[in-house]
């Protein structure tokens, strides 16, 4: 799973081009005073068939906003999203159903994401009916098969969510996301609300389903451990932009952006007794982002060039590893020097 995927038919199933989502804040209908939060500001992203892309960043970096616009729940300010060759950035309600059959989502909190007044069967049946499956036998079959696939017994379909444990609920949530046979599943922190003992089970279930059903995942998470375990490629977001992206091994073994370096150094590791790296300060106010590199105020490598506009470009190296940092090469040289 962790070998760089070099399949022959490596084609792109989802591509996001220069996507931006801005929210106006304040101002009222008395006019004036509008401010813009650039929650997502010019994101390019590609998801290949059968791949798991880890989307990493601290809260407020725009990863959820990005996920919601891919799902068609937020209308982007600019940019395009191409799904399986179709541009879906229109946002008409007719497209919503087509989109629903292509992209689905697994939610973070299995306690809030299941309707307490619906049995598991209704939770799985209703979407099928809505999407035109009417034959009773086919509905029953698909519900039963799906429950088995996520590791639940078909007899449990008549129960209500409160009769299940957290892990089982998350299995139901996964079943709901897969019942329409989507091609892409966005997993929004799928295990962070679960007991540590259950996490591995759910992660393995997700990986297994990805193989058997030929799914592609976008793993939204701030838990780098989970991302490291699941992802083929990783994209790191900071304040609405992608600051580094590449193969998972590249990112975790040779992180080039100071922000990624800090994130990785902050993974608690019981075997490596190195002190945890810390960043000073907070995520900058998205209403008033820094002129130059957004990470400059917190970066220990920041130089004069980093503080000034323009924002550094995301520069792609030949091996596909892309970094948004003016000083990436210098920092790499320094690190190499230090380690010899």
């Amino acid at each position: 799973m962790h070998e760089p995927a070099k399949r022959p038919g490596d084609d792109v199933i989802l591509s996001v081009k220069d996507l931006a989502v801005h929210f106006p804040i304040g101002g009222g209908w008395l006019g004036g005073g509008h401010q813009l939060v650039r929650a997502v500001d010019g994101v390019d992203l590609e998801l290949k068939r059968g791949e798991c892309l880890g989307l990493v960043g601290e809260s407020g970096c725009g990863k959820s906003t990005l996920a919601l616009s891919i799902l068609g729940l937020l209308v982007p300010t600019r940019g395009r999203i191409v799904l399986d060759g179709q541009v879906v950035t229109g946002g008409q309600s007719g497209d919503r159903k087509t989109l629903a059959r292509t992209v689905q989502m697994v939610f973070q909190d299995p306690y809030a994401s299941l309707n307490p007044r619906q049995t598991v069967r209704r939770t799985l049946e209703d979407p099928l009916r809505l999407h035109g499956v009417t034959a009773r036998s086919e509905i029953d079959d698909r519900v039963a098969v799906m429950l088995k696939q996520v590791g639940l017994r078909p007899e449990q379909a008549g129960r209500y969510p409160h009769e299940f444990s957290g892990g089982q609920r998350q299995r139901i949530g996964i079943a709901r996301a897969l019942i329409l046979n989507p091609r892409i599943v966005i997993c929004d922190e799928p295990v962070s609300a679960l007991d540590v003992s259950i996490r591995a089970q759910i992660i393995n279930l997700l990986l297994e389903l990805k193989e058997t059903l030929g799914l592609s995942y976008i793993m939204v998470s701030h838990d780098l451990g989970v991302v490291e375990h699941m992802s083929d490629r990783v994209a790191v977001m900071y304040l609405g932009r992608i600051v580094e992206t590449g193969d998972w091994r590249e990112i975790f073994e040779r992180p080039a952006h100071p922000y990624t370096q800090t994130l990785i150094a902050a993974i608690p590791d019981p075997l490596r007794h190195t002190p945890l790296a810390t960043t000073k300060g907070e995520l900058p106010n998205p209403l008033n982002p820094p002129d130059g590199c957004a990470f400059a105020p917190r970066c220990r490598h920041a130089a004069a060039v980093c503080q000034r506009a323009p924002v550094p470009p995301l520069e792609t190296r030949p091996d596909g590893h892309a970094v948004r940092c003016w000083r990436a090469d210098e920092i790499a040289a320094q690190t190499a020097l230090a380690s010899t």
């Binding site: 729940l73 309600s93 919503r96 629903a100 809030a112 209703d126 949530g173 709901r176």
Partner: protein, 273 residues
């Protein structure tokens, strides 16, 4: 008041009122309207006349039984109209927000600011007295609390994960409101509904007392009270028994509302399961 005793007492009183209304033709001793006989006018309660008789010699017991029909019809039907209006407005306002929310909020505040009885009076004045106008008048004037509660529930429920999930699955707004939001806000709506029935019965009594309710000689508890006004010192049973009927029914509905609130609380649900 453990183990739902308020639910049992309240439900019992309400069930009693309903069965009394339904079974009135069999339980009553005399016809409530036609069997007037001035020979036994204003008899005090006795073994013959359980609740006494009024100035025209009609049996109060029979009239109270038949009066239950009007009171309960008004209570149930007008509150149903209120609940439907309140839920429809509150749910859509909370879910959609924006200008529609402003409109609904304005309307709700307007309804809360005008005393509903005065508003009902105005509607009755236009429509004229009678049962249908009563139902319309009381059904249009008491939805503001239901609306507030439905709106507040919709606001909090629409951020739940399962509502997001329904959107992702391609559910339309109406389907989300009906299948995802409504079932989860039904508890408080039902509680407010039973309490509202009680106050609708009181409003009916008040409107009938003012002569705008059911036309005499047909009995309703309110109109009986109104007719008994002049004899309250000489024949107190004329007002005591219909008053008691109103009191017990409204008390029953309030206890029922309290009891239902305890039961419909989702937390107590999962505890029992």
């Amino acid at each position: 008041m453990k183990l739902g005793s308020s639910l049992i007492i309240g439900g019992g009183l309400f069930a009693l009122a309903i069965s009394v209304g339904l079974l009135a033709p069999w339980l009553a001793h005399t016809d409530p309207v036609m069997d007037a006989n001035l020979m036994n006018a204003e008899e005090a309660p006795s073994w013959v006349w359980w609740f006494g008789t009024d100035g025209q010699g009609r049996d109060i017991y029979s009239r109270v039984l038949y009066g239950a029909r009007v009171s309960l019809t008004v209570g149930i039907v007008s509150q149903l109209i209120n609940s439907v209006i309140g839920v429809a407005l509150g749910l859509t306002a909370g879910y959609w927000g924006g200008w529609w929310d402003d409109v609904v909020n304005g309307l709700t505040n307007l309804m809360l600011a005008i005393p509903s009885l005065i508003f009902a009076l105005a509607i009755m004045a236009v429509l004229g007295p009678g049962l249908t106008s009563l139902l319309i008048a009381l059904g249009l004037t008491n939805w503001s609390f239901t609306c507030r509660i439905a709106r507040a529930s919709a606001l909090s429920l629409k951020r739940q994960g399962y509502v997001q999930a329904a959107k992702v699955l391609g559910y339309g707004d109406l389907r989300i409101m009906i299948t995802q939001l409504l079932p989860n806000m039904l508890g408080p709506i039902i509680v407010i509904g039973t309490l509202g029935m009680g106050s609708a019965i009181l409003s009916e009594a008040a409107l009938s007392f003012l002569g705008l309710g059911v036309r005499p000689p047909f009995p309703s508890w309110g109109s009986m009270l109104s007719e008994a006004r002049d004899q309250i010192t000489t024949a107190p049973w004329l007002s005591v028994f219909p008053g008691l009927a109103i009191f017990l029914t409204v008390l029953g509905l309030n206890l029922l509302g309290d009891g239902l609130r305890d039961i419909l609380d989702p937390q107590s649900r999962s505890r029992r399961a």
